[in-house]
Symmetry: C2
Subunit: 409 residues, 2 copies
């Protein structure tokens, strides 16, 4: 097959952009060259010749020679305008901006159809792991039932350091940022927004549903205290921030929250900035993908894979969507949690769908049982309450929990 | 994209064939139907209507309505004739026959070009893990340096049972066969021919080299004794049958042999019939894929993914080959091993490139150090000698070991 030589216009020259530049110049398999790089700050030192850079987006968008726009900037709204503008001008797009994608995915899906140009975004979901490509290409005939994993490298790095090196939380976060794993706004990571964006994107390719990120419940790792860490250690557990979506009947559910994990669980051995995605399907059963989820080269390499795919006119087909899924997103599910808090009666047994017990220790109270996802969302807005999913548990629809209760009664 | 409705001619209706039939009827995403099934034995009971079956291969090969031949028989030579005959008749082929592929891969590559028809074989390498597709599609721009993993489900099942349930070897093998994980000729599994065939196929898509299976050294798990198992347990190790190929300079090396594995090694947690493939590359670094490597549905599901890919005219491009690789296969590498034997002087320090020590215990002698791959091949032909790779070690070229010796001297 004859490959095209692509001319790229790059927006953003931060960590991933520089990684891409390096990766592109070390490999000879991809016929592509960077023609222009759009940046914001005139006063920053640039490691490349001056005339490669521009401060005017039109220099890229209006350049008919540029076939592909590679969008690697921070600001999600500006990024969306670049994507839209590029498609309108007949250019293909590669982006790694998960916030922008999660917030505009249905629109981007429509824009691709309208302008008949592809948008690829493997680098946006779990860095170097080729999960979108696999969901698109390999599982199109398979009956997928769930996707779950560690979707954020910086929080996994922090949790690994806290558990393995007994580092304190603030030091571990700082170190993650210095290594370039954490977002410039660390709240996106530690409050679990970043993995939620990735989950929203993955859900579109797993189940064919477009979900608004604000509809998915996320609970961060920023309230994990020494007492929770001690609880984990005393029970030979670790804590991982787990993103998951699953199907039950006609509904798809999603949740991102920390979870106590047993040592033999496949996610327990996923350490530092590594990410992991486990896909479950009726026939191929459990499939696990593990790889670096953050950092300049792993993400740059994923972006380059997308550019390479454009040389043979690859595009996502959104097969699960286009084959006419009847699935709908719902939050009517519940998860088994261990809630810890200090203020008396901040949480009571009445908050639970199924209350299984409580205990006190180290100045904290702990209550356990099944709670609806909406309750977890409420607690996320209530400082002083920390939620961690119980070890080995998987959320279920409220319907199926009520059915179990009836059967047990 | 408009998908074609494919008519399939199936050869073989054993474990994988029946799995495929079931999977095909449970999913609605793939536009394909089985028109005819070619089988050998007239007297076997068949679970489907009689007129679907034929005993004459021409009924499939000469049927102009059949677009795709799915080859799932045991006999590698007959299978190759079917593949060749199908391509000559302008039919695409899907096969899961790793022995046939490994022995004829270069010829099959040429036949695909000659007749301009694709042969897909994802089900041949590590069952449900989409490794060939990922090597083809996702890593085409990446600088791959090694591929390694657990490429055989039945031996991994046996080793898991021996270590975790303290089963004896013969019982564990019998159980694996009853569950349908082991080949009808168990020697292919336990003497490590089956994972070698898969490694040979993977090497073509990782490094662009076609290697004859007889050129790759394989050492099985059939000589592992209670003494070796005790050694592993005493040192908090397990044993895995590891297939690996790696690049050093202009050479590609390959080896399949059992290895002592530490508990925190990514392969240690890959249990039972699960397979794992770890790909290392310059930029995406380590990527691990884990999934079921054997069994009717996982392999049937991989075969169906190939059929599905044919509906949009997918074919392997053998990019690493076609981009003109200069890599050549070589056996001039060495591995650090622990050799155990009972007969006096069956192995001596002179057999080693670097001899590091020896000890006696439980009626066995153990010698350790680096040995050339060709020596491992010789020992495979010498009953009473067992070779297991040392924990944490990775084979290296003899050149680089000699360089280290010079530097150390």
């Amino acid at each position: 097959m004859m490959k095209k030589k692509l001319k790229l216009g790059l927006f953003g020259f931060g960590c991933v952009g520089q990684g891409l530049y390096h990766v592109l110049h070390e490999t000879h398999g991809v016929k592509a060259e960077i023609k222009r790089i759009g940046v914001k700050h005139r006063d920053k030192q640039r490691p490349l010749q001056h005339d490669l850079f521009t401060y005017n987006p039109s220099d890229i968008l209006e350049d008919p020679e540029i076939d592909v726009v590679v969008e690697l900037i921070d600001d999600a709204e500006v990024a969306f305008q670049i994507v839209k503008g590029s498609l309108e001008k007949g250019k293909a797009v590669v982006t790694a901006n998960k916030k922008m994608l999660a917030e505009h995915l249905e629109e981007i899906y429509q824009l691709q159809r309208k302008y008949d140009r592809p948008v690829l975004y493997e680098g946006a979901v779990c860095g170097s792991i080729p999960i979108i490509r696999n969901l698109e290409e390999y599982y199109d005939n398979d009956l997928l039932s769930s996707i779950e994993g560690i979707f954020n490298g910086s929080t996994n790095y922090i949790l690994t350091k806290v558990f393995e090196e007994r580092k304190n939380y603030a030091d571990a976060l700082l170190q993650a940022q210095q290594l370039g794993f954490a977002e410039s706004d660390p709240a996106l990571d530690v409050r679990a927004f970043d993995p939620k964006y990735k989950l929203v994107i993955a859900m579109a390719h797993t189940f064919g549903v477009f979900v608004r990120p604000e509809d998915v419940v996320n609970f961060g790792i920023d309230r994990i205290s020494e007492v929770d860490v001690k609880y984990a250690r005393d029970h030979n557990l670790t804590i991982k921030l787990v993103a998951r979506a699953f199907k039950e009947g006609e509904h798809v559910f999603g949740l991102v929250a920390p979870q106590f994990v047993e040592p033999n669980h496949p996610l327990a051995s996923v350490r530092n900035e590594y990410n992991a995605v486990q896909v479950e399907s009726a026939f191929s059963e459990k499939q696990l993908f593990v790889g670096k989820g953050a950092g300049s080269y792993p993400t740059g390499s994923a972006v380059l894979s997308d550019i390479s795919a454009l040389t043979y006119d690859y595009r996502y087909e959104y097969k699960k969507r286009n084959e006419g899924t009847t699935l709908r997103f719902s939050n009517k599910a519940a998860a088994e949690v261990i809630v810890s808090f200090t203020a008396d009666k901040a949480v009571t047994p009445h908050d639970f769908l199924q209350f299984t017990g409580g205990f006190r220790g180290n100045g904290h109270q702990f209550l356990t049982g099944y709670v609806p996802l909406e309750k977890i969302r409420n607690w996320a807005g209530q400082p002083g309450v920390n939620v961690i999913l119980a070890p080995g548990t998987r959320p279920k629809s409220i319907k199926s929990i009520e059915k179990e209760q009836v059967t047990a009664a």
